[in-house]
Amino acid sequence: MSFGARASSLWVLALVAAVGCTHGKAHVDKGQPSPGTVPAAVAVVPAGATAADSDWVAGSLPAVAQQGKPVSGGEMIVGMRTDPPSLNSAVDNDQVAVWMTHHRVYQSLVRLDPFDEPNYRVVPELAERWEISDDKKTYTFHLRQGVKWHDGSPFSARDVIATYDKVMDPTTRAVHLRSLLDELASYSAPDDHTVVFKWKRPYFLALDSLVDISIQPAQVIAGLTGTQYNEAATNPLNRHPVGTGPFKFVAWESSQKIVLARNDDYWGQKPYLDRLVFRIQTDPTVMLQLAERGEIDMVDLVTSEQWVHMDSPVLRSKWNRSKLYPAIYAWIGWNETRPYFADKRVRRALTLLIDRPGIIGKMMYGLPKPTNCHFYWASAACDQSMQPLPYDPVAAQRLLDEAGWKDSNGDGVRDKAGVELKFVFMLPVAGVETARWAAKLKEDFAHAGIEMQLQSVEWAAFSKRLTEHSFDACTLLWGGGPRDEPTQIWHSSGIKGGSNVISYRNAEVDKLLEDARSMFDDDARNAMYRRIGAILQDEQPYTFMYVRPELSLLSKRIKGARASLIWWQFESMWVDPSWNTTK
């Protein structure tokens, strides 16, 4: 598989997260806890929260804010931070476009069950059922019959083929989707209601890799060339999506709003909402003011500061707050080609020197959650019993002494064989929060005889230096989703052109990754991943920092919301007619 393309899309996600606009997913909240519907886990008050914060929902999904009997009707307005470049996420790799259209307007062959925390298993969507051959290479999908496009024409295998033709066409901008299908050998439609996918090798994420590809109508796209498909002037879908999903596209006023309406011909459970409006507001402060005035029903990206200082009685009385810990974590990578980071004792010592409890608790309002796992923190791929290394400067200094890094020339900086323990810590320019704790690391490292300089690097240069391995230490976020296949990050083959930016090499990890890739038994595979986790914990190629929560507000007027890593599911939400907006 070509690692480069996948790597760059990961980094894009990471950057977005660094700027504070991320949010893959969803969460929910809960006003008065109604006994019986609240799973025990939800009642756990997060560390650092006080009694007054009882309306917070910790990262533990799933809270069902299902109070009362659902009724149809009404409109819901969702505040969004950016206007998407287009509504065709095959052309523009834009998270907002994906959130707005994917599983709302468009549908895929299969999807992740949004409420199946923490496994998020693959469930049918446009494919009703499928068979997997014994060699795990051929997947036969039987399509749902009687499904209609929003323009009334019938859905068939022709649409699936037309969509995958566009995704695989090297002249379209669908690189980010193509890179998911590197292992796909062929696809065909034996009849109108069947499609067959053949894979080069058995791959446990084969189904997962189809989840992100929205099926588009053949009558619109089949006749377009790749270039025509890319451009809004020649491809009407870019501004006016036509799908098979529960919501129909209605209108898009650039930088103002995007309006969807219920699809009354939908084949599945029809949404309760009449209309779903995404209102674009780039300024977070204005967004909160709109929320206070009751002009929007959901604020999807609340800043930590807004969250902590949300004292307004208006917000308190009318809004539920939700906090969800996504499958995104912050890490510090120690470039192992540097002489001082080659020794695992040094890397362990550096982790021990990082005051994560202080950084999280005092500098980040106690909101992030410490992690030591590459995978989605709640999944079975993480060993829940494994504790992150503590903050222990004394043990750290002992380890450094033991590894032979002592201040032999009396300049206050540890050295060994003529090499000083001095390095540059590279950060992306936009990471204000990161820069804040990095400055703290500099002070703490200096006290332990390690000299670190900070270097904020603009994004393009940052990612270039990562791939070229031309840095000492760096920090970034990785985001994977509920299941991840991290070969490109941890396998030694990912050093060249992949995302193994720190040049990590471990024969056992290589072997485990190769085996896990074609392991279809979830328990066996997760056991392999937990073993990798234990090795990483021991070797500390990364210092795993934390998972930062995604914070949102949801009006108490909206009922039926459920938390999910896969973002909000508007199909299940309804407007409470008894909720008085003036109270």
């Binding site: 500098m363 201040d407 990095a438 900070l454 904020s456 603009e458 240069a461």
Partner: protein, 338 residues
């Protein structure tokens, strides 16, 4: 000034007399000198090490400056905790360094412990304002030195030699003038990727390389005027070379307006550094810069002290440089002379 009999005043003396006549100008000069002094002694005002220390039988002289290896693991807090009764220390008035994190007081408002409050990393705002004066001063002085040198060189040869050279240089100047400084700076800094004080130097040089056009124009105008003066003709008649005429006879007479421009340029360089650091492209987070401190307010709008103190420092500095420039301009303007 008492009489120096009837001797004609020197130009310098005349200008300084004119300058000092105004209270505001006088005060601004004093303020500039105080700022420079503050930048010089910043380590004595705010530091995470004592100025003098006797600790476990060893006397440390100026540990705030020399950073002795034996004290690497210590800051004021830890020293105070671990000192024996026989040990003693002279602590600086602000016992915090510009990168000392006090996690017990993150985003704390002004208090007895942190006189001007702390930032989102628990760092003392006063210590950072004091140390930030170094960056501002360095950026101001050095970038102006660079831009004045380039500007004077290009302006003077353009005006003195005239003709095609003048035409070419002036078109070149217009091109440089049209380049947006911030863009060039961001690009250059992204290319050089400096750390620590190198980023200050890089910034100063780049500001200098982009902002010389005003000085060059001014110098050119002055020299075009001076070039035709009888004393220049006289020098030429006496056989003086180009270098001698330019350096000895023309440039000194064109210097006064350059000085005025330099003072204003200083103020604008300081503002520029503030703007860049505010955007996150300037001085790295582990150093103290007023613009960078303001950056912190963006995420913490409730913490007024994060905006007010560094903002006031920038405002004050830029104002006194501008006032000084104004005073200088008035002082050398014969039409305003009493």
């Amino acid at each position: 000034m008492s009489d120096v009999a009837n001797l004609p005043e020197t130009y310098l003396r005349m200008v300084s007399r004119e300058y000092m006549r105004h209270r505001l100008h006088r005060l601004s000069l004093h303020a500039i000198m105080s700022l420079a002094l503050l930048a010089l002694v910043a380590d004595f005002v705010a530091c995470d090490r004592p100025i003098l220390l006797s600790f476990r039988g060893t006397l440390y002289l100026l540990p705030n400056l020399v950073d002795p290896p034996a004290l690497r693991a210590y800051d004021n807090q830890r020293l105070a905790d671990e000192m024996n009764p026989s040990d003693w220390a002279v602590f600086p008035p602000v016992p915090w360094g510009y990168n000392s994190h006090d996690l017990e007081a993150v985003l704390a408002p002004p208090s007895a412990q942190h006189w001007l409050g702390t930032d989102s990393g628990g760092r003392d705002v006063l210590a950072r304002v004091v140390h930030g004066s170094r960056v501002s001063l360095a950026v101001g002085v050095l970038s102006v030195a660079v831009l004045v040198s380039i500007g004077m060189f290009i302006g003077s040869i353009a005006a003195y030699f005239g003709g095609v050279l003048d035409l070419l240089l002036m078109r070149f100047l217009e091109i440089v003038h049209a380049v947006p400084t911030i863009l060039v700076l961001v690009t250059m800094l992204a290319l050089i990727m400096p750390t620590g004080w190198h980023s200050v130097v890089a910034m100063m040089v780049v500001i200098g390389l982009v902002r010389w056009t005003d000085v060059a124009r001014l110098v050119r105008g002055e020299i075009l005027r001076i070039r035709t003066m009888p004393y220049v003709e006289a020098a030429r008649a006496l056989g003086a070379g180009h270098a001698r005429i330019l350096l000895r006879h023309i440039l000194p007479n064109a210097l006064a307006p350059v000085l005025v421009a330099a003072t204003f340029a200083m103020a604008s360089a300081i503002l520029l550094e503030g703007a860049l650091s505010f955007l996150g492209f300037g001085i790295p987070e582990d150093m103290a810069s007023w613009g960078g401190m303001l950056n912190d307010v963006r995420g913490h709008t409730g913490a007024w002290w994060l905006a007010v103190f560094p903002g006031a420092a920038i405002f004050f500095t830029v104002t006194v440089y501008n006032l000084a420039g104004e005073g200088l301009r008035d002082a050398i303007d014969p039409r305003l002379r009493a």
